[in-house]
Structures are given as C-alpha cells and as structure tokens.
Amino acid sequence: MDLITGTEINYYFVCKHKLWLFTHGINMEHNSDYVDIGKSLHENSFQREDKEILLDGRVKIDFIKNQLEIHETKKSKAIEEATKYQVLYYIYYLKMKGVDKVTGVIHYMDNHSKEEISLSEENENEIKEIIEEIYKIKLMNKPPTKVQSKICTKCSYYELCFS
C-alpha cells in the first residue's frame, strides 16, 4: 500500500469526501500552492545537517530541538483537529524512521497562542487506526457522503460538490 501522506490525514478529519476525491486523483486545478507536506517530508529524507526545513511554507522542522512547527490560523474546530493529527502523524512517521522524541508545536497566528504536541501511546494507536480507516476509504468504489458544512464554501472542491 502507498504511504499515507500528511495531507490525507488532514483531509480525513476535515472531510472524508474530500479525502476520497483527492486519493482518486480528482484534484482541482491550481489547488493553491499547497504542496503535499507528506511528500516533501519523504523527499527531504530528514538529513540531519539541515538544521531547519521549511516545508510548504508552513511546517518548520528544527532538528536541533527535535521539534516540528506548524503555523496555522484557527479556522474551525474540524480544521484545528485535522492539523493536530497531521502533526501527530509526522511525529509518528519520524519515529518509525528512527527519529525519536520529536515534538510538535502549532502556533495559532490569529491569537498568538500555541499548542504543544507530543505523541502518547494512546495517540500512536489512534494514528494506526486512522491509517487503517484511510486505507478503507481509498478502497471505496464511490465517495463517502459530503460533510456539507460551512467549511465547504472555502474548500477547493466546492464547485464540484455542489454544482
């Protein structure tokens, strides 16, 4: 099976319909300049001499402090949770690669607060379950139902979903 990307973890929380479309190659044109963070992570292969890698202009991995940073504006609960699990997934992924004890920080730019994230055993099991669920969704013949919430109007699939 293909490796799960951070984007897929993110979409899993935001909207499973979106996740399905995305994993079936149905993308919107010029999907902003959103580079797949997961993909960049894999390609950069965590060279330790890179003190800092800025991925997608959003994720800062600082290997000196073994910390992974994401800068995010709070948009909605769903998106907040999606970001959190995306970070947890990276930490989990790095752990699998033998890079241990990484922690994450999400900086919320709108109110200057931050959230520290580390991977508990419970999180790790959750992540494993989520990965399984994502594989299941990828195997579905047609997309799961739409979320139909207010996040839709900002989603790049909006016109596809509601035309």
Partner: protein
C-alpha cells in the same frame, strides 16, 4: 476567471524569459500574461516555435488554430496536467455499458433540446408563427426517454434540429435566405456563422475539459473518435443554443452583422475579418456573462457553467450523482 486571447493579426508568438510575446506589424511586440490565460485562439497567420509551444504547455494553455476562412483546424492540447487513472477507467466503463452510455447520451439531448426550446419560446413571445415549432419540438422531445439506442437518439436530435433551423427564418425575420443547414462548406451567411460559432464552442469546451480529469476522447453521444476530442462535441450540444445561437440571433436582429461582413467564394460563404471580429467579441462577452447559480448560491459566468458541466459528468462517472444536464433556468 482566466481569459481567452484571440489573435487576429499576422505575426509571431515567441517566448522570452517567462513571458509570451505577440509580435505583429500592427501592434508591435506585446507581452501576453500567461498566468492569466486559459486558451489562445489563432486566426491570423502566426509563426511559433517549439520554445513557445513548450512554454504554453508548461502553463497549461490550450491553443486553437483556425485557417484563413475561420475554419477550425485543430487544437494543441498539452499533456494532461490533472490525470486520474481511476476516473479514466470509470469513464471508459460508462461508455462500454450500453445502458449507461445511452443514459448519459439521452441527457445531453434532453438538455440541448430543452435549451433549443427555450430559445424558440423566447422568440415566440415576440414574433408570430413560432408556436407550431414549439409544439413540434415538444412532441419530438417526448420520445427521448423511450429510445433504445444511440441511432434512434441521433434521429430525434436531427429532427429537432431541422425544426429548429426552419424556425430560424422567423426568428431573424427572413433577413437571410436560410433553407438548409449545409456544413461543408457553408453556403450562406447563417450557415457560415453556425459553423464558425460551433467550432468556437467546441474549442472552448475542450479548454474546460482540459482543466478537469475527464478524458476528451471518450464520449457518449458522439462516437469516440468521430472527432478526436468527441467529448467536447457532446458537451457543446448543451451550450450551442445558449451561446452560439443566441449570438447569431442578436447579431442579425440588431443589425450588428450585415452582408458586407461575409465573403462569398464560388459556392462557399464565410465571415470575413471584420465579421469574425464582431462575432468573437460577442462570443467573449457572452462567456463572461454572469448569472446567479441557484445551487452554488453565487454568481458564475457562462464559461464557468461549462466547467460545472464537466464536474457534474465527473460525479456521474464516479457514481456519486446521476448526471443532469444544464437546462437554462433564466
């Protein structure tokens, strides 16, 4: 929304650094902002090299070429930039299953003829004698749901078109002698405009398809390969009455286009440079026309409606929602 560029002068398209330039005697060397354009229509005699073509491809720009008479020659359709193997397989499956294919094909004709009817009805409020055409078209439309194969469907389509074209005489107040639709080559001004307009429509739809995962060569109503990008023909059916025919009626009825805008050559008739410019301008404006979309709850352009049609087709192909073609609601 990305723009369409119409090149009507002779000259040269070239790439320099990150820009495409159009060099012509009339306008000198002018940059074309690539990040802002979706397609280029070439009407003039234009030189271009692979460097320019590669650059257009990089920027996902389609290029449509027309010859001296305004006949469509072909398109440069760059390598797919949004491929989905999954969708391609499903698109083929829907074609191979006769029942499924017929379902989609019927919906194309159903929507196209709805839009045709809408045009005739619009004019029947203003002009005498169109009611009988409305009735005839309505009667033909009734049969769509019962057809058993594509041939029968094409038969209905042909008959509706004939009734529709004979209504043209009334719609345009007999300003032109227009008896039969002849295509190759067109022999009168109306035919010339229909031919030209239809190829503009076809190219524009093709550019929209390019920006989706649909494969333009797999079609449902037309036989794949009837023209290379036959899906573009399918989708054009829906938009021809809404866009092209309306343009023709307006141009004639408002006397924006006149005899002097056509050239007659032996047995053929075509729009001359001036005439083509008038048509292009109307076409461009029409595609930019904005209307409120009831489901999206926002305003979209006519051009965007073509893209939405592609999206609806995608949803049908992935078995998410039955395809329901655009039926003019305004």
């Amino acid at each position: 929304m990305k723009r369409s560029i119409y090149v009507n002068t002779n000259g040269r398209l070239s790439r320099k650094d990150n820009t495409i330039y159009l060099e012509s005697e009339t306008y000198g060397k002018k940059p074309i902002p690539v990040n802002n354009i979706q397609e280029i229509f070439l009407f003039g005699e234009v030189d271009l090299n692979t460097k320019a073509i590669n650059f257009l491809a990089q920027n996902n720009i389609t290029l449509h070429v027309f010859n001296y008479y305004g006949y469509y020659t072909g398109s440069f359709y760059p390598r797919e930039h949004l491929p989905s193997g999954f969708l391609l397989v499903k698109q083929v499956e829907k074609y191979k299953d006769n029942e499924e294919r017929l379902k989609v094909a019927k919906e194309f004709i159903n929507s196209a003829s709805h839009n045709i009817l809408k045009n005739v009805k619009y004019y029947s409020n203003r002009k005498e004698g169109l009611d009988e055409y409305v009735k005839k078209i309505e009667a033909e439309r009734e049969n769509i749901k019962d057809v058993k194969n594509i041939n029968e469907l094409m038969g209905i389509e042909g008959r509706i078109r004939n009734i529709y074209y004979s209504a043209f005489e009334i719609i345009i107040d007999g300003k032109y002698d227009f008896k039969n639709r002849t295509m190759n080559p067109p022999d009168n001004p109306i035919n010339a405009m229909i031919s030209f307009g239809n190829s503009m429509m076809y190219s524009s739809v093709l550019s929209e398809i390019y920006n989706t995962q649909l494969n333009p060569t797999i079609s449902y109503l037309h036989e794949p390969g009837e023209r290379r990008f036959s899906l573009s023909l399918d989708i054009s059916e829906i938009f021809k009455p809404i866009i092209i025919d309306r343009i023709i009626f307006t141009l004639i009825n408002q006397r924006m286009i006149r005899e002097e805008h056509f050239d007659q050559d032996l047995s053929m008739c075509y729009l001359n440079d001036k005439g083509r410019l008038i048509f292009e301008k109307e076409f461009d404006e029409k595609l930019k026309t904005i209307i409120k979309h009831p489901k999206l709850n926002k305003s979209v352009s006519y051009k965007r409606l073509i893209r939405l049609e592609c999206y609806k087709l995608i949803k049908h192909i992935i078995d998410e929602e039955e395809y329901e073609g655009l039926k003019m609601w305004w």
